[in-house]
Symmetry: C2
Subunit: 191 residues, 2 copies
């Protein structure tokens, strides 16, 4: 699970990760918010209505769901579980409260938090994006600082300075997690 | 700290790791056992006498030391601490009891256990080495199985099938450990 404030560059990292490594399934979240410029349904998000969201929720179709800045976000269950069963790695790009909810149900899930190299750079990135009003940006910055306070409850931190380094850090985390003793107890017993 | 039974290929993995990655200091252990064919003083081990070993021990010159198959092994303190202070990664190739002793003093140290892909392959490797009598080999196999029982107390397991994969797993562990939240708390606070 990859979390981090808006402006941390999660989307770019995940996209480049999936380009380099084919053994991963990237979960696509559902949201009731409007698409930003360039965002596509089924690529960046499943953009759905409030009614569609509630229907999926009632049918246990989400691994987790949460409200965030007036909009609803959810992680569709079916595709992620199918990929896991096929032996793929799964990335959930997910906000903080959602991540904690998934962790409760899947203690083996790994929590990765991403931040820009500094607060100043976060601010610049949000302003530079040019798609939001200053009011929205300030709101996102405040929200970001609230989220970052929860980062110590995560397993890992990736400082997203360059995309290349962030992607390779994420790869290292996947590889190292597969070496974790707890994921190899059966092998040790068999040996 | 990299442990694993004789025949797990620790030495080969460490040597190849150091060849690929220059940001590491590989600690060289001191031992009172005789060099095997091809082993060199100051490269594979510092081959020292019982008297020299005891002198270093008494002068607090070891991070840890242990008896093993009638011989003494120790990890010289000075070079490792110097490398850490210079910001390098440090690899200690170390047997199980020694690893636990270092871990007591350095809870931030990371325990990595290495094994061949199967017991049968371990046995073949030990026999194939051709440098030991069957009696010594059986003794090493028994010892190996005792050590492997302690692997669940380690942090990671590397299954040494190919040297390339084992080296990259070890690299991933170094990289992922640097991303561990506990190693980034100061950054989060500063942010």
């Amino acid at each position: 699970m990859l979390s981090g404030p808006s402006g941390a560059g999660k989307g770019t990292v995940v996209k480049e990760y999936a380009r380099r490594y084919s053994d991963v399934f990237v979960s696509i979240s559902a949201t009731t918010r409007d698409p930003r410029e360039g965002e596509k349904h089924g690529v960046n998000y499943f953009f759905i209505t409030d009614e569609e969201f509630d229907k999926m929720k009632n049918e246990n179709g989400f691994l987790e769901y949460a409200d965030f800045c007036e909009h609803k976000y959810g992680t569709p269950r079916e595709n992620a579980e199918k990929a896991l069963n096929e032996g793929k790695d799964v990335i959930l790009e997910i906000e903080v409260q959602g991540a904690f909810k998934v962790k409760e149900n899947r203690p083996d899930a790994v929590l990765v938090f991403t931040v820009p190299p500094s607060y100043e750079i976060l601010r610049e990135r949000l302003i530079g994006r040019g798609t939001e009003s200053m009011e929205v940006i300030e709101k996102r910055l405040n929200r970001a600082m609230e989220e970052i306070k929860l980062a110590p409850r995560y397993d890992y931190l990736i400082i997203n300075d360059t995309v290349d380094k962030a992607v390779e850090d994420l790869r290292a985390i996947f590889d190292a997690e597969k070496c974790k003793i707890n994921n190899n107890i059966d092998f040790i017993k068999e040996f």
